[in-house]
């Protein structure tokens, strides 16, 4: 397991020693901050519902941009060969890179904690949904990171990895709103597959095992798919 730790540390260094991490975080904060606060003063309500409503859609684009390089870059430069012929299992590599993506997502969210703090100074803020929202955001981030990581194993081209990852994440995020396209019989099943409903449940402050299991299953399927893809390259 300490190999997972070394891979995680190396990937985090790659993120934070280059300017890309700070650019992504800055752009993310500017865009979400603007989208959130431009409506905030119109409604005049002391909550973060608007911020969390947008989160599945902003994550659907930001997270694949963060994860696109994880494998595509290594496959492109060939360094994956040097890595895999060291005594490490593909599982440890996938897990290390996945955790690095999750940590990055957490780093992306961390500065937004300033929002609830500022809002709580302006009015009576209910902290329950805020905490739920952040827990949900981490679960959602983990699920999307796994999807993006899976997309990154498919190709040597980071742009393709980003587009595929963003498409799948966006599809999961909007699925709830597209239910009217599906026949009546399928609505229940397809409705369960959408990420937004599960996220909004958690963001209300209700942490239900069904929602948690949903996010963990998406993450597991993504990582397992990545494992299968890497194995098929052998």
């Amino acid at each position: 397991m300490h190999q997972v730790r070394h891979i995680l540390t190396k990937e985090l260094k790659d993120y934070f020693l280059s300017p890309i991490a700070y650019i992504v975080i800055a752009v993310y904060l500017v865009v979400t901050g603007w989208l959130f606060f431009s409506a905030f003063f119109v409604f005049g309500q002391a909550d973060l519902r608007n911020f969390f409503n947008l989160l599945p859609f902003t994550f659907a684009f930001v997270i694949p941009a963060v994860t696109m390089r994880l494998f595509a870059e290594e496959l492109n430069t060939g360094s994956y060969e040097t890595l895999l012929t060291l005594p490490v299992t593909p599982g440890a590599i996938i897990l290390g890179k996945f955790l690095a993506g999750v940590v990055f997502t957490a780093a992306l969210l961390a500065p937004t904690i300033a929002y609830p703090i500022v809002i709580s100074l302006m009015g009576a803020l209910d902290w329950g949904p805020v905490i739920g929202g952040y827990v949900g955001a981490l679960l959602l981030g983990a699920a999307f990171t796994a999807v993006g990581l899976f997309a990154s194993t498919l190709t040597r081209n980071q742009i393709i990895a980003f587009i595929v990852g963003a498409l799948v994440c966006f599809f999961l995020a909007v699925l709830d709103k597209m239910l009217f396209f599906f026949p009546q019989g399928l609505v229940g099943v397809v409705g369960y597959l959408g990420a937004e409903v599960h996220f909004q449940n958690v963001a209300k402050g209700i942490i239900d095992s069904r929602d948690v299991i949903y996010f963990l299953s998406v993450a597991f399927i993504g990582l397992y798919g990545a494992h299968l893809v890497l194995e098929s390259k052998e």
Binding site: H2, D14, S79, T82, T85, V88
Partner: protein, 312 residues
């Protein structure tokens, strides 16, 4: 040390490696030789556990590649062709990352890095990003990477390709220095390199082994035959064959089709123990054939290689 049996690899129906098998004792330097696209890299990638063979077995010591890939990888150091390392990392960071993944800790890690820096002369570049290095320097970092855990087996894929002559000599020196106690497999398409560094040469072509012998044996068999090329006019092929094949020391007569001007090019394969040109000349003088050309080519490793691997 290493036993490979019937190793085969198909890529989408294309057979890259076709039933390769060999065994290796410890402390040997084996050169895997072949033209480009012969299956050298694929073979090495299977030996290092990067690719899974379509069929066949690889055993290292008592370990089976299918069952214990990680245990085998622990015994091996591998440098892929053109050393694909992380271009953004500093040399020191990279080496300590590899050391960490190899399970070296604290003082042992720093000590080992220092040894490798001395062995591969990396002092001046420790704080440079790998992407900024020249090809030769990068190759040296790659060698340090491969030798990190002081592995018993070292596998190098074209370690000198793309280097200038000075760098080639440097890399060969390092290989020879470490080859005294290690088992090394290196692939190359440069004959003189295999001749200079390897104890044993395996030549592969189109995924099959076409020769496998100790370097000095290969050189000796190569020298055992002389090729004498002749060109005759006014000669009937059958009569030529009968007469020259009867000569003592002539192993084979190869006659090509007569050319437009009526001359007949042919090749005699003779035993290499002494010069046969005089005998041949006397024999021809006794006939009414006109001799227009006679020259001898002694067979060296290069001719053996060309004969074994030429397209046909």
């Amino acid at each position: 040390m290493i036993a490979v049996e019937n190793l085969t690899k198909y890529y989408d129906g294309f057979c890259a490696v076709d039933g390769i098998g060999f065994t290796m004792a410890g402390g040997e330097i084996l050169g895997l030789l072949g033209p480009n696209g012969a299956g050298k890299t694929t073979t090495l990638r299977m030996l290092t556990g990067y690719l899974r063979p379509t069929s066949g077995t690889i055993r290292v010591k008592d370990l089976d590649m299918e069952a214990d890939p990680v245990a085998i990888k622990r015994l091996m150091g591998y440098l892929p062709e053109s050393a694909p390392l992380y271009p953004g990392m500093l040399v020191y960071d990279y080496l300590s990352y590899v050391a960490n993944l190899r399970g070296l800790r604290g003082a042992a890690r720093e000590g080992r890095i220092r040894e490798l820096v001395a062995l591969c002369s990396l002092w001046d570049i420790m704080a440079k990003p790998i992407g900024d290095l020249s090809k030769g320097l990068k190759q040296r970092v790659g060698l340090a990477h491969a030798m990190m855990s002081d592995p018993e087996i070292l596998i190098l894929d074209e370690p000198t390709s793309g280097l200038d002559p000075n760098q080639i000599v440097e890399i060969r020196d390092i290989i020879r220095r470490i080859g005294r106690e290690k088992t090394i497999i290196l692939s190359t398409h440069i004959l003189s390199e295999a001749e200079a560094t390897c104890d044993r040469i395996v030549i592969i072509n189109k995924g099959r082994i076409v020769a496998d012998d100790r370097t000095e044996n290969l050189k000796r068999t190569a020298g055992q035959e002389h090729h004498i090329h002749l060109r005759l006019c006014h000669a009937a092929p059958d009569a030529v064959r009968e007469r020259l094949a009867a000569l003592e020391g002539v192993l084979r007569v190869e006659i090509a089709a007569p050319e437009g001007d009526g001359s007949l090019p042919l090749k005699l394969v003779c035993r290499g123990d002494r010069d046969r040109r005089e005998d041949i000349y006397r024999e021809i003088r006794a006939t009414d054939w006109i001799l227009t050309e006679l020259y001898q080519r002694s067979r060296d490793l290069e001719t053996v290689f060309r004969e074994l691997t030429k397209e046909s």
